[in-house]
Amino acid sequence: MSISTVLVANRGEIALRIVRACRELGLRSVAVYSDADAGAAHVRHADDAVHIGKSSATKSYLDADAVLDAARSSGADAVHPGYGFLSERAAFARAVTDAGLVWVGPPADVIERMGDKAAARAVASQAGVPVVPGSDELADVEDAVAAAARIGYPVLVKAAAGGGGRGIRPASSDDELRRVVVEAQREAASAFGSDVVYLERALAHPKHIEVQVLADTHGGVVHCFERDCSMQRRRQKVLEEAPAPGLDADVRTAMCEAAVALARETGYVGAGTVEFLLDGDGEHADRGEFFFIEMNTRIQVEHPVTELVTGLDLVALQLRVADGEALPMTQEEIGCRGAALEFRVNAEDPADDFLPSPGEVTALELPGGPGVRVDTALAAGDVIPPFYDSMVAKLCVWAPDREAALARGRRALAEYRVQGVPTTIPLHRRLLDDPTVIAGSYDIGFLEGFAM
């Protein structure tokens, strides 16, 4: 490879995951760390480490200048951003390449385009990929009523500058819409500094299905099949699986081809994810109608379930593609075998409204045995800091079929012991005994109504 040293611009399990991929490829890895992470696993496992600031994320992992300085001072020739933090900041990607370093991800202008909702929708439409029926930005209330007549009720009123599920209000009639648009404009103005709103069709009981894509710098684009990420709480994914249970084979093919077309249209490079909503029981549900919602221009938390069913190493492929290598396999050579699930282990108390629970892990016993993979940077005696995301581990299981994977998941979760802080392990154990989860028919609203 022409790159030799990779700066890992992240922390926790994903930083460790990248360090491991580097080691297997013969690349030197350099970790970065905040005050709180001085003794962390990603620092211990990397070949070198650079301190970049105080514990608060804005003063360390989100400090683009400090991270870039660390890359320069450590002699890195590439930067892998992981997920979260600086991974989808186009300005950071640009600064990395402007500094003469290799950015392990898509070009900055692709990050920019796919990060802008309207621009991403336009790219999807150009690629012939269906988007959720919606309106342009609304001039006034009567403009909204006219748009709703075209789209069909129920609709969602969304703030153009919103995100992460914020600034969204439903409406089911003209009268309700007139009231809701005014409220939404007022709320958007104060929350996002812009009162611009638009309409989208509200889908009934949709599933969140996403397709993993890989693209190289030679025009090669492939998909690595899909993941079902419908198990969400407040728009945060909780459990993911591959393949998506119950997905019609023709719909799967159409979705995967749409994802490849979109990646090709936008000039994608590296690993990315194209997210879709699959209409649950709307008018055309039997036709398996699906709609593009967004593209994530980075490696994702739940990439291991795809690795387990395809046998690919997505992080290693990111590094090889960033190095200029062509994808080493064709679409036909990528298979989907068996079934995999990922359980996110968060330091949160499911019995107390998912209260964040940082603190010392006094004892820890990880599950093992056939078909079990645990991606974590947490060890017994570690203190989980309050400054970052609450996810401390990903328990992944694989088995030849979904029923066996569920059984393996139950067995592995029963083996998993964490003492000192509450975690979401009890939630997962409950979920795996739920008939809707066993049937694989849960939608994105399922967990909101699930009582612990």
Binding site: P356, P358, P386, F387
Partner: protein, 80 residues
């Protein structure tokens, strides 16, 4: 005059303002009622309000905006 200490219920990063551009929740010397919000603590990407557990007058801050705080740490002294 008696005084009362408001302490951190959770570890994290302390903020005196609801957003970086906003005015502080309470000005120095202001009077607060029981239950009034006097600050925020960011813990694991969520925000938890720090509330006055008694009524009083804002007297002495023991922490700066954006300081890292530990559970039980003294934050604000009220004159009661």
């Amino acid at each position: 005059m008696a005084s009362h200490m408001i302490t951190a219920r959770t570890p994290g990063v302390f903020y005196r303002r609801p957003t970086p551009d906003a005015e502080p929740y309470v000005a120095d010397g202001a009077t607060v009622a029981e239950g009034d919000t006097v600050g925020l603590i960011e813990v694991m990407k969520t925000y938890r309000e720090v509330k006055a557990d008694v009524a009083g007058t804002v007297s002495t801050w023991l922490v700066e905006n954006e300081d890292e705080v530990t559970i039980g740490q003294d934050l604000l002294e009220l004159e009661t």
